[in-house]
Symmetry: C2
Subunit: 516 residues, 2 copies
């Protein structure tokens, strides 16, 4: 068994089931090991940003890491932006990078880069393997680190991949959650009992059904409000799940919401901050006279933490199916007429089927989708956690591979889609049940919003040009078909409803260009 | 004048003429400054890898930096792979990154990354601006550093962009070449006089016409051989320019060529090394008993260095137009029949017009192009210096903007093209005279070559799958048209010749899918 086979055997034993890859020469022994040690599904992506975005989507759905296999520093560079989104989503990712043979690195061959420096920007855990003898242990350590909800990066020199390992013992990752800190829980319970204006601010895995049900118990016991972080990795929501509002995006709106509270209890999330720094606006959205307490540690099971707090407050274990603790089931009526930001959201909310996974990178077009879909059938909503655009299409591909029995709908801005359009090819190749709804407004509309906010009322030639995607208009139908995904273009709500229904009824990927 | 206007004013004064950008909120003051301080042409690219690849192509043609404007750490991440190629090409690039407002960085907002760490992997010079008062000086320093043939990265917090600068003095970049080191030249001349088996190994700007003419004088005076590095930034070649062979790509072939020489004189290039480390093959391609001497310093004018060496050797100043010192003019006959690797190269070599800029990222298909085109009309040849694929299309766009009167032909592998396909949109938007010839062999063929080299005679399922681009076949005509570039597909040499002639005769971009 060579080093590459040792790595794959260890990954298999740790439960790794899929590898998103765009390999090169320095990964060839690992590529062939995926055949000689069968069990991990290898998926080719045409660009590394698709590999890493898919690994993010997969990990968000299954709470376990996918493996990536990327080529040297340039391959990792191309994957960094979506690894950044994965880092901000606390997604487990087992990121594997081939490196030049150990004796070749000092030659400074053309592809040589400082891979450790690159890895350090997105990975809490990263290591360059120093011997084939430690490859199994290194692999197990990397996967254990990933399971804590982070990107871990293992860099493997090519000669260690092809060298026979003397030691055939296979290590297993050691992972378990830390115990809930009962003192923190008791302190938070005491504070919640005494504060009338309290907020429970939730992020990360607190936004799954079990966490939201615990939060509903806390709300029922204390009368506090509950709010979600603005951009979250994976929220379970819809009919039958306790509903939750999200913190507004712009700081002036967020501050207006938050200023009501004297106490903010944080679970799965840091203190809220502004997405950008704006002139004369705060960076941190809480003021010094607002008390913030965090109840979870870095490696605790968040639903368990919230259940402990609910128990400490003496909240009943089961909440009755009251309208104030579980979302009702209702859908917007199907709209008609030319497409608008609003009616696009209405069509989606009206037609999304039970169990749908909505990957939302719709930016300005998606504004009204969140409230409209609150009472849709139960579904998962995945958003752009790290702000690094080009996440939606790859994330949708990864989510579809994680959950082949659930329909995936990628509600996608056009400017962002252009970043990682190659993901469509993998959706076609793997026959994934992804329906992409492209919001073709032919501009970087969010920048126009920001320009208006910064007081630019009559933008100049280049300011207009640098936010414009209309010249030439991107023909998403041709691009999609060119990548192997059937596509149609629509410009009315009626046509959108019809084509979305068709796409959802047929297996395999589809793309709908929505001309706004 | 605010900080952003100070930066743009300084860049203009330093001779910067173009800015390739995909900006975000943290670059808005710089975007508006491109209007309020007119003079720099702003070009939008749909992905940052296109911005940086275009800056590389521009710099290779004009020997002066283009400016980029990229959004925070994720924008820089997306641009890194082509900045790596630029670094390896010693291309001047003035790389500008917006950063969160200085007081907002500690908030660790979602888009926050370690931009300095990212910049350090590709930039010899990089700095985060620490005050609006130093912005002009920082800009001038960055541009001066870039002019030495490197990527320099200036990171500018957003608040320094919008803040009024008290100091309106504009700095100018201080740049001049270092003097030639006459001692090195004299030592090399003495060695060349006494060694019968000597090689002059050239890279970088030694491969422009003036450098090659000086090298021909040295060859005539000493009887040494002359050889080019394998992957070069910009070679001027063709009829009337001294011809030069290039070092073979695979180490066994390179060693066979190099082993003839006892002395290797290096100009514009390091000692040759293998592209990858292969089992039982050397990393460094020269042995201990081969003497290597470098004659140029880091910041010297390379043609001047070579002319000094020719003078020291007493070589005549002007070489007669002999067949052995200047390439003759001849073209291959136009071939016929189904497309093959060979006849594709023949068609290109036969039809490329005088003054053409050939951006070659054809990988396995391009093997016979270099010798076939040696006697074509004078042209420029740009190759993949850093090995980071996805360089060809953006580089072609940048070269076309640098030299609007010269036809650009991008001879392009399909797998590599898929990395930065968004470059076609910028080619369409700016009506660039770029003809893209896609080698559609529907595989990562170089990896199949490497698999065969490593002894894999019967690859398994995933090994085949991870090197295969045929399922589904990428339809380059649809993708190109979707990006706004007219396109045709051909599968015979006759059709290729016809369509290439049409494309070259018409202004604006074209794409030809060559189904191999």
């Amino acid at each position: 068994m060579n080093g590459a086979e040792t790595l794959v055997t260890t990954a298999l034993a740790a439960g790794i089931e899929i590898c998103f890859s765009n390999p090169g020469t320095t990964e060839i022994p690992l590529v062939t090991a995926l055949d000689s040690v069968p069990g991990i599904r290898a998926v080719l992506c045409l660009f590394e940003g698709v590999c890493t975005g898919a690994a993010d989507g997969y990990g968000r759905m299954l709470n376990k890491p996918a493996m990536t296999l990327l080529h040297l520093g340039p391959g990792l560079s191309n994957g960094l932006a979506n690894l950044h989104n994965a880092k901000r989503a606390h997604t487990p990712v087992f990121n594997v990078i081939g490196e030049h043979a150990s004796w070749h690195r000092s030659a400074d061959a053309p592809l040589t880069m400082d891979i450790e420096a690159l890895a350090g920007t997105v990975s809490k855990w990263h290591r360059t393997c120093e011997s084939p003898a430690t490859l199994s242990r290194d692999t197990a350590s990397a996967i254990a680190a990933a399971m804590q909800g982070q990107v871990s990066t293992l860099i493997v020199p090519q000669d260690y991949q092809w060298t026979e390992c003397g030691d055939h013992r296979i290590s297993l990752p050691q992972f378990s959650f830390d115990a809930v800190d009962q003192d923190s829980i008791d302190r938070a319970a005491a504070l919640l009992r005494t504060h009338e204006k309290a907020l429970l601010f939730l992020g990360g895995k607190a936004l799954r059904k079990r966490g939201l049900e615990a939060a509903a118990r806390i709300m029922a016991a204390t009368g506090c409000d509950v709010l979600s972080e603005t951009l979250f990795a994976h929220m379970e929501r819809g009919a039958g799940i306790p509903p939750i509002e999200r913190l507004p995006y712009f700081p002036e709106h967020a501050v207006a919401v938050l200023s009501k509270y004297r106490l903010v209890v944080l679970a799965g999330v840091e203190e809220p901050v502004a997405f950008f720094g704006y002139m004369d606006m705060p960076s941190r959205l809480l003021t010094a006279d607002q008390q913030a307490v965090r109840i979870d540690g870095e490696n605790q099971d968040l639903p368990e933490v919230l259940e402990s707090l609910a128990d400490a407050l003496g909240a009943p274990r089961k909440l009755a199916l009251e309208t104030n603790s579980r979302a009702a089931s209702s859908k917007p009526d199907l709209p008609s007429g030319p497409l608008t930001r609003e009616n696009v959201c209405m069509v989606l909310a009206a037609l999304q089927p039970e169990g749908a996974i909505i990957v939302e990178e719709a930016v300005t077009t998606g504004g009204s989708y969140y409230p409209l879909s609150a009472t849709a059938p139960p579904h998962s909503l995945l958003t752009l956690t790290g702000g690094s655009i080009g996440q939606g299409m790859p994330c949708a591909a990864g989510a579809a591979m994680a959950c082949p029995d659930r329909p995936v709908i990628n509600f996608q801005a056009d400017g962002s889609a252009a970043y990682t359009v190659q993901a469509l090819w993998t959706q076609a190749r793997e026959s994934l049940n992804v329906t992409t709804m492209i919001c073709s407004n032919r501009s970087y509309d969010i920048l126009r919003v920001e320009l208006a906010r910064s007081g630019q009322v009559s933008p100049g030639k280049y300011t207009i040009s640098l936010t414009d995607l209309a010249d030439p208009a991107i023909d998403w139908v041709q691009i999609s078909q060119g990548m192997g995904v059937p596509a149609v273009s629509v410009n009315t709500a009626e046509r959108l409803a019809k084509e979305l229904s068709v796409a959802l009824a047929e297996p395999g990927p589809h793309l709908i260009e929505m001309v706004l």
